[in-house]
Amino acid sequence: MSSVSSHLESFYRVSEILTGFSRSDLMGTGAAPEYLSVLTHGAGLTNVEDLLGKALRTRDSERAVRETVWPDPRTGPLARRVIFLWYLGTWVPLPEPWHEEFGPPATPPMAEHIVSRNAYIEGLVWPAIGVNTRGAKPSGFASWGSLPGLSLAEESEGAGPGA
């Protein structure tokens, strides 16, 4: 576990790029250690280290992710799993061909599952689309009558449902 937790800072930096969410947003889920641990279980530490290493090798990590990590047959599927974990709180299994080619022998493919109760509640898919987690983060009576993220003043300035 210590080798996993020592990667936490790198995991945050790569996750910021992949998810488009701020460090505070990611830390505020409280879920990063859990996600990193699930990712390591599902893909093997070597592959995770490869993902983090490739992404953070240069100063322009965004570019490294886009040009190196994302299209790469080994790290690309991993990067996508990172997004699924943060957005859905769900481990989405890696494709079988990936396991055949890159999967560590001691790591059998892990079935799809919700990582934890907290992972569902803190799924970033909801804030990404401007709403709250269904069934866990209420938005208040009648909040659904206006567009999310608009103040009263903005609405009255012509952005109402008739527009």
Binding site: N118, S139, G140, S143
Partner: protein, 373 residues
């Protein structure tokens, strides 16, 4: 009959601010307005510490504690609304956006001499001890401090009750000509505007409704006629509601009250499981200057958002208190306020979960947000 003195709660030998108003009805009303302005601040002051404790509870754990603290917090919000109604009814204007309206971490309750320091903290034994002190009304007969204010919360509200009785009495005697309830009745918040699980809002238009409003505030806090229960569950078949003090007592002792328990003894009923460790509570603490300096820039952004949102909440409430009912504006302000309350909840939860450094931010108005604590 008319010369008969009315029985007051604050002992006669104690001189309250109302006693200094003589037979001047206008001075009495002005003094009552000042008292209710303090009461508004007082009722609000309990909400930040309660919701910090509430949202420090990890979801799915400490069910009883969460239920109790949540119900108390909701009732405090109701009390704040009731005080606003009282204030409006006697011709005052609820203002909740002054920079000093919100207590800072460690401040004492406004106008109360024997007040504990109100800290913002996660749920803990210390937090519950603080809540017990806040909800313990204290003796009515202690001497009033020389520099103003009251000795205890109990004395403060007793004095307001006495004043309502006195004013009514003086009007009946013909000594006061000017009615007390001069406020615009369309400014009253009604259940159509504000509705929560915390109970029903009373529209204050006369002595009788004012008495009911004060009674809810006092009974739910300290208990009804010194019993454990708050006495507002008259409907057949409903369980009686515990007064705030006794709810916190149950959590502090870790046992439920039985109907046979005396208010002076500890609860002796079934155990109430409570877990203050990190299994049940996010181990968050108030942001100190040292912690603040080390927080990630994006976390500081979120703290500023939190404080701005809290400021918006208060100004929305102020707009709501000041709006006329009838055309939907009033309820729209309260609808918006409810939305902001949930935003506050979700932001606080985020701080509590902040991996590595769970924090509790200072509650303050948005405009001061650029200052580091």
């Amino acid at each position: 009959m008319s010369s008969k003195k009315i029985k007051r709660r604050v002992p006669d030998h104690i001189t309250t601010p109302f006693d200094r108003c003589g037979d001047d009805a206008a001075r009495h009303r002005a003094e009552l307005i000042r008292h209710l302005e303090t009461a508004l601040k007082l009722e609000h002051a309990t909400i930040p510490p309660y919701i910090c404790a509430l949202y420090s509870i990890k979801e799915g754990t400490n069910h009883e504690a969460a239920m109790h603290i949540r119900s108390v917090a909701l009732e405090e919000m109701l009390h704040m609304t009731l005080v606003a109604n009282l204030l409006t009814a006697v011709g005052g204007t609820p203002v909740v956006t002054d920079p000093d309206f919100i207590l800072r971490h460690g401040d004492t309750l406004p106008g109360i001499a024997q007040s504990p320091r109100v800290d913002l903290a996660r749920l803990s034994v210390n937090a519950l001890d603080l809540f017990l002190r806040i909800e313990s009304p204290g003796p009515i007969g202690d001497p009033i401090p020389e520099h103003g204010g009251y000795a205890t919360i109990g004395q403060f509200y007793a004095s307001i009750k006495d004043e309502l009785d006195l004013y009514r009495h003086k009007m009946e005697q013909g000594k006061f000509k000017e009615p007390l309830f001069v406020g615009d009745p369309t400014l009253q918040v009604s259940p159509l505007d504000y509705y929560s699980g915390g109970g029903e809002v009373v529209e204050v238009v006369d002595f009788e409704s004012a008495r009911r409003a004060i009674k809810i505030i006092v009974d739910e806090g300290e208990g009804f006629d010194h019993s454990i229960f708050s006495g507002d569950h008259e409907q057949f078949g409903e369980q009686p509601d515990l007064a705030h003090y006794y709810k916190f007592k149950e959590l502090r002792v870790g046992r439920r009250y039985l109907p046979s328990d005396s208010p002076r003894s500890n609860p002796t009923g079934p155990a109430v499981p409570i877990d203050f460790t990190e299994r049940g509570v996010y181990q968050a603490s108030i942001v100190t200057a040292k912690v603040y300096a080390e927080l990630h820039e994006s976390v500081l952004d979120d703290i500023r958002t939190f404080q701005r949102t809290y400021g918006q909440l208060l100004s929305t409430l102020e707009d709501g208190f000041g709006a006329r009912s009838g055309d939907g504006t009033k309820s729209e302000h309260f609808r918006r306020a409810t939305e902001l309350m949930f935003d506050i909840r979700h932001l606080l939860t985020k701080f509590m979960k902040l991996e590595g450094t769970p924090i509790i931010p200072e509650f303050q108005l948005g405009q001061q947000s650029t200052d580091a604590p």
